[in-house]
Amino acid sequence: MLREGHEVSCLDEDPEAHARLEVNLDRSWEDSGGQFTVGTGLEEDALTAAGIERADAFIASTDGDNTNIVIAQIAKRRFNVPTVIARILDPLRAEWYEKQGVNTICPTRVAIEMLEKEVLEAAGSG
């Protein structure tokens, strides 16, 4: 998204995560226009430092479904971010929260669909 000219701010509790952002970048993350803040999505100070108050979109994609569900709701209800998306691995929880008005991406669901498609195509061509 940075390459496409958007302003991107990452929040991670692990300071080392910063190094991962620079993989395949010619310049540093900051020189490329990115921002990086150490903290968790449950800390309002960290969210504010990461610039949530002027964000057009917020993506909750930590490795915890419940954490993502909670912080997506914080971004939406507390900070009024216009577009909020939560990554929820568990299809059942994803389905319920989608119905509750939380935009969700369920990678499990997406992977199942892709695998299913591959299998059917392979079976069809074989």
């Binding site: 449950l42 419940n66 709701q73 568990d90 059942l92 319920w96």
Partner: protein, 227 residues
């Protein structure tokens, strides 16, 4: 609580296990849900069929535990996000009448409120309350908080330099939304004051008030010249 309720407890830690034991003793039906296999196995030796193995934030696990007929769901895992999620789905998806959530990190309290999860219990806050009571320097002690009813009762010690010491209760111009209800005085115990009662330094005054008036009352009963 009346007899024969069905209660689901998420988390078989010290809190969950002991709570389950107490509730079972009182004749309630209880299902504890625990996702740590070893913990589950050791608690299962005592609770037997009253504990199930699984992650209580997975909907099918809650459904297997019979959440749709539960009268109450108590989320006391060591993870605040899990407790919030479990209570939120219990309330909104399965329409459980009563929920109770445990707050592990008091900094997460605003999130519980934002998601409408109440009541919640925070051990840190409970200990702080007790500390307030033990350490008079805190000035104002909360005796009772009923946020739902918008009612609080506080206790405050009148110091030597209190600006109301020596005043008649009838002459007090208490902040609007607050009422003096009792005085605890050395040697006399507690009594309900009349307009003629004269406040003395060393008195402990009890007042009922609307939430949010604490600071105003601190100043009101506090040292002279703080205004």
């Amino acid at each position: 609580m009346g007899e024969g309720k069905y209660i689901i407890i998420a988390g078989a830690g010290k809190v969950g296990w002991n709570l389950a034991r107490e509730l079972l003793d009182k004749g309630h039906e209880v299902t504890v849900i625990e996702d740590n296999r070893n913990r589950y196995l050791s608690v299962e030796q005592e609770l037997e069929h009253s504990i199930q193995y699984g992650d209580a934030s997975e909907l099918w696990v809650l459904e297997r535990a019979g959440i749709s007929r539960a009268d109450m769901v108590i989320a006391v895992t060591g993870d605040d996000e899990d407790n919030m999620l479990i209570c939120q789905v219990a309330k909104d998806k399965y329409l459980v009448d009563r929920i109770i959530a445990r707050v592990n990190n008091p900094r997460n309290r605003p999130h519980f409120e934002l998601l409408g999860i109440k009541p919640y219990v925070s051990a840190t806050d409970l200990i702080l309350r007790l500390l307030e009571h033990e350490v008079p320097e805190y000035g104002l002690v909360h005796l009772l908080d009923l946020p739902e009813e918008r009612l609080e009762i506080i206790e405050m010690l009148l110091a030597e330099d209190s600006r109301v010491a020596g005043q008649r209760v009838g002459d007090l111009n208490m902040p609007e939304g607050s009422l003096l209800i009792s005085i605890l005085r050395e040697g006399q115990g507690g009594f309900v004051p009349t307009p003629e009662t004269v406040l003395e330094a060393g008195d402990e005054v009890l007042a009922v008030l609307d939430p949010g008036l604490e600071e105003e009352l601190k100043v009101f009963f506090g040292p002279d010249g703080t205004e």
